[in-house]
Symmetry: none
Subunit: 202 residues, 4 copies
């Protein structure tokens, strides 16, 4: 497979991500992908031999682009820790509210079913990465006097579990934008009691 195939491969991955975003993991069939890509049944198998392989490929291309990029970019700026945390939470909120689920639902469905070794589990590494970033953010904020926090790691973890809880809850039962704001603000207030962060404006 040469250059041309690479383009098509990417094309399929893109379409597949859309499909997985819309329908989760278990409900996606090869036919769904095939229809979305408008290619033949057999054609798809030239690139991916199962939904499994396809999904994992989607997941791994996903990582390279999204979170890290945005966030790390922000971290290297000159913004204050508070601004950055607010930015991070705004991103999370955006993902939580996104109509097309992103891959949250599909990922959970997938990793509920397959038992993947912890170190190969992208959900896990994404989570851990996020925790580390937030931890550093909080530490910076504490140093600069913006935040008050005795246990930055614990606090970062707590924040991420809340975000995770919000994500899955919102996907499974729906959640209003207001409720998300309330929740995220609650968490922020724990860090900076005297200041009400505004994360309303999407």
């Amino acid at each position: 497979m040469g250059e041309k195939s690479d383009i098509k491969r990417k094309f399929i991955l893109d379409k597949a991500r859309e499909v997985f975003s819309e329908k989760g993991y278990k409900n996606v069939t090869m036919k769904d992908i095939v229809d979305a890509c408008d290619i033949s049944r057999g054609g798809l198998y030239l690139y991916f031999s199962s939904t499994d392989e396809l999904f994992l490929s989607v997941l791994s291309t996903e990582n390279e682009e999204d979170d890290e990029e945005t966030i790390t970019a922000a971290l290297t700026g000159t913004a204050t820790a508070g601004d950055m945390l607010a930015l991070f939470l705004k991103e999370q909120k955006k993902e939580i509210l996104r109509k097309k689920n992103g891959l949250i639902v599909a990922s959970y469905e997938y990793f509920f079913a397959k038992k993947v070794s912890v170190k190969d589990n992208p959900l896990k590494s994404q989570f851990d990465t996020a925790v580390r970033i937030i931890e550093r953010l909080i530490e910076n904020g504490v140093e600069s006097g913006e935040f008050y926090c005795e246990n930055p790691l614990g606090c970062a973890r707590n924040l991420m579990y809340v975000v995770e809880g919000l994500k899955v809850t919102s996907k499974a039962v729906g959640i209003s934008e207001e409720a998300i704001d309330n929740e995220l603000m609650y968490v922020l207030q724990g860090l900076v009691p005297e200041e009400l962060n505004n994360i309303n404006n999407q």
Copy 2:
């Protein structure tokens, strides 16, 4: 359906709950249920007209027994708010660690896929019920001086989102008992900074 049918209905629900607990939702076939119950395929349909209905029925009988029972029992006792909250968290921890997934995985699998109106979503009502209980608990604790909390509802919600986050994370990527303890303690400490609750002993 007479009395006898009711017994059988309950029997099926019990067996089905076991199956869903073990295998999630999508991986369960009617054969699994039928085998577990040792009844005929057709027989099952006399009591439940579809997989969906069966699963939803399992979910709603769930409520009646587990949480409410335990917790409400505790609430009517003479225990302190702190004790009760600790008890609640202990129960949650037990469920998080439970080898058989409980219905968490199956529930999320189900509600990820089906778009159920919010008010009919048992996950939602379970969540809300739990929030209300905890809110009351915290209010009680604040009144009695055990807790310090300016926003009991927010705090209760926060706690529940953390618990939800822990639940799904643990099912999807695995989580150590220690990590759960750390997290739950962190939350408790937010309420009662001077007192370290012991929720270690299962």
Copy 3:
């Protein structure tokens, strides 16, 4: 599966035998069987889970009925060895000429492809049984003065290899009735030079 299922099982086996007879082994699909039986795809799988299993089942029911029965019946009669051998060859001729192949073609196709241990190979055991019967027949004929043969076993084997050769050749390239007669007579003449057996009348 009770009594009723047994009937259906037999019914399927019968239809399947017809199909295998007509189309050989490799060209038979589950759909062919399903169509021949006028049952549903899934229905067939209740009884047989692959063409393989189905074919072997057909083969084993086959044995119980056909050759042995006819031949052994003849052997217990009062006919002379010559008559009996002629009868046997007439049967073989009938099978060679049969429009619907019987299972010869399917069997060879099957056992060409699958390497079955010699002792489990029904082709082998059928062949050996036939050799034994003919050997005895020849011995009887020699005793009674009808035949002349120094090596009955070798002669029996020779006869069977010729028959086998005729069978497959006829199925693969077609063969005229006359050619079969010529060939079988040639073999007989080796045993009874002075007498021309008549195996023409089908």
Copy 4:
């Protein structure tokens, strides 16, 4: 097609023969051929327009080389009829025992399924050719006093049916070298009772 194409055509036929020899007919896919030839899928179709044509071409080139070559060479030599017949049988034995099936299995698989007109059937012409050669051989032998045979054509046919029977039996159920020797010797003894031909040494 120029000279170069002819070379490539032969090359493909050679490789294809190997593949068909190893795997029979039905189990061979275009990919197998294409891989063996290390050419492109499309490239193959420049030379052969279908699997069928390819296979039939393999079969017909077969003839040109193998048997005829060896045998005709022998026939033009100064060897005795007995030597030549022994040589022929030795060749047959070699083919029967060959690990790679030769094209026997593939041929039968093919002609069992496709109904080819008798005169276009290469199996048929191969068979007939062999019969004619052997017939002449026997006649020569009879003339020279080596053989005794009243019906050379019948005898030749008989021999070929035995050989055919041995071939298919050996491919379908396996057969020992000893058994082949026994059988072939039995046939020879019919021609030359007083002389034991040695066809043991491969």
